[in-house]
């Protein structure tokens, strides 16, 4: 129940408003857009595909945001460790208390 893959809407069909042709790195299939009828995707949008139905739109903004957070996560902690190595941390704690 969990295998769902991102695909891009490459073609819509005016005569079949609930159908779209999606592309996954060159593999193409028609999917049913019925579950997204409250907010239909347009050409170029990315959607999550599961058993031939589009389940959700994918937010590029949220994806980029997440990658930024992840990259910063690793960076921040290793920077703190470096600083601790210089013995500055104890000085900081004394100031706060």
């Amino acid at each position: 129940m969990c295998l769902a893959i991102p695909g891009q809407v490459v073609q819509l069909f005016p005569e079949q408003p609930n159908t779209a042709l999606i592309d996954v790195v060159g593999v193409r299939r028609k999917v049913d857009l019925g579950l997204l009828q409250d907010d239909l995707p347009v050409e170029g949008d990315w959607v999550l595909i599961h058993v031939g139905f589009a389940l959700s739109k994918i937010s590029e903004e949220d994806a980029l945001d997440q990658m930024r957070t992840l990259r910063a996560l690793g960076e921040a902690e290793s920077a703190i460790e470096e600083v601790q190595g210089y013995g500055l941390e104890n000085a900081e704690n004394k100031k706060v208390s």
Partner: protein, 330 residues
């Protein structure tokens, strides 16, 4: 049914039933072809059957598969195919034009591969008994000088070479059946790999320990056979394994692993480390070998198994297939 898919069940059938009853007391591991010696005259011989649906598909048809498959089995056993005989099992009602097309395709493939079709047989069976057409072949050839293929010679440190991208054939067939409603610009990779094997023999002959063409069951099955027969471990680097985008996309969509998908125009070779780089370089320079890769190496552990490592320190065991790869939704 699972016994035909090339993986565990097939192996059990061959090792458990055919080998003890038919092959005598030989302790040699089973290979792709048999090398026989008749008072000094050395001949390599192999047999194979070809069952595919649909009969024709992007990149080829059953006739070409039959020729290339036979030539390739001989090639990876270290022999050059010289001649083959062919049996056609035809379903009554098969249109004559379809048969003619396959015979032509076979003739053309034989010409390209440099092998003579020396004779054959035909049988017609009742409608419903042969799924249009089955082809069986027997090929004979001359052992290539300087090559000695034996899984027992494989040692830790030996490198594993792959001739090109995997999964093209199996995914092409899956899509061509039309049941999954997927389309992609993809072709079967069916071809004779003999020229590439000859390049390898020329460049690295004394260092080539083992070869196999990863057909049904894919690279995973062939390398599991290697691990078992050599009693060594095989460790692959996932990011080194060449896979075309379309194959990758189809596999992700369907929940399949490219390592389990059939190939009809690729081979794996285990080469001693001192020869490996030169061998890879030579393959890449040869026509059709541009995408060759070094995908892993032999190690002592995990003995008898195949491990795939990721670029970030994770790893997983990859087993032989049991039955055909099935799409999943979970």
């Amino acid at each position: 049914m699972a016994h035909g898919a090339g993986g565990k069940a097939s192996r059990r059938l061959v090792e458990g039933l055919f080998a003890p009853l038919l092959f005598g007391s030989s302790s040699e591991p089973l290979g792709d072809a048999a090398h026989l010696d008749f008072d000094g005259t050395k001949i390599a011989i192999t047999t194979d059957s070809f069952v595919v649906k649909p009969l024709t598909f992007p990149g080829g048809s059953i006739g070409e598969l039959a020729v290339n498959g036979t030539v390739n089995d001989l090639a990876v056993s270290g022999a050059k195919a010289e001649a083959m005989v062919v049996t056609y099992l035809l379903e009554a009602g098969l249109p004559a034009a379809v048969l003619e097309a396959e015979v032509r395709a076979m003739g053309k493939a034989a010409c390209t591969a440099g092998v003579t079709i020396a004779g054959g047989d035909t049988k017609v069976v009742e409608h419903g008994k042969a799924d249009s057409m089955y082809i069986t072949t027997t090929g004979i050839g001359r052992p290539l000088p300087g090559l000695k293929i034996d899984a027992r010679a494989v040692r830790p440190g030996d490198k594993i070479l792959l001739s090109g991208p995997i999964g093209d054939h199996g995914i092409t067939i899956l899509l061509a059946r039309g049941e999954l409603d997927l389309e992609a610009d993809l072709n079967s990779d069916t071809r004779s790999i003999l020229p590439l094997v000859e390049v390898l023999a020329h460049e690295a002959g004394p260092g080539v320990r083992w070869m196999r063409d990863p057909t049904r069951g894919g690279v995973a099955t062939s390398l599991n056979e290697l691990a078992r027969d050599s009693r060594q471990g095989v460790v692959l680097s996932e990011e080194m394994i060449p896979v075309r985008d379309a194959v990758r996309g189809a596999c992700e969509l369907l929940g399949l692993d490219p390592l389990h998908i059939a190939n009809e125009g690729q081979f794996l070779a285990v080469v001693a480390p001192e020869y490996a780089n030169a061998a890879l370089h030579a393959l890449r320079l040869a026509p059709g070998g541009e995408d060759a890769q070094m995908i892993g190496e032999v190690r002592e552990q995990p003995s008898g198994a195949v491990l795939v490592t990721t670029g970030y320190g994770g790893s997983r065991i990859v087993d032989m297939l049991v039955g055909d790869p099935l799409p999943r939704i979970c």
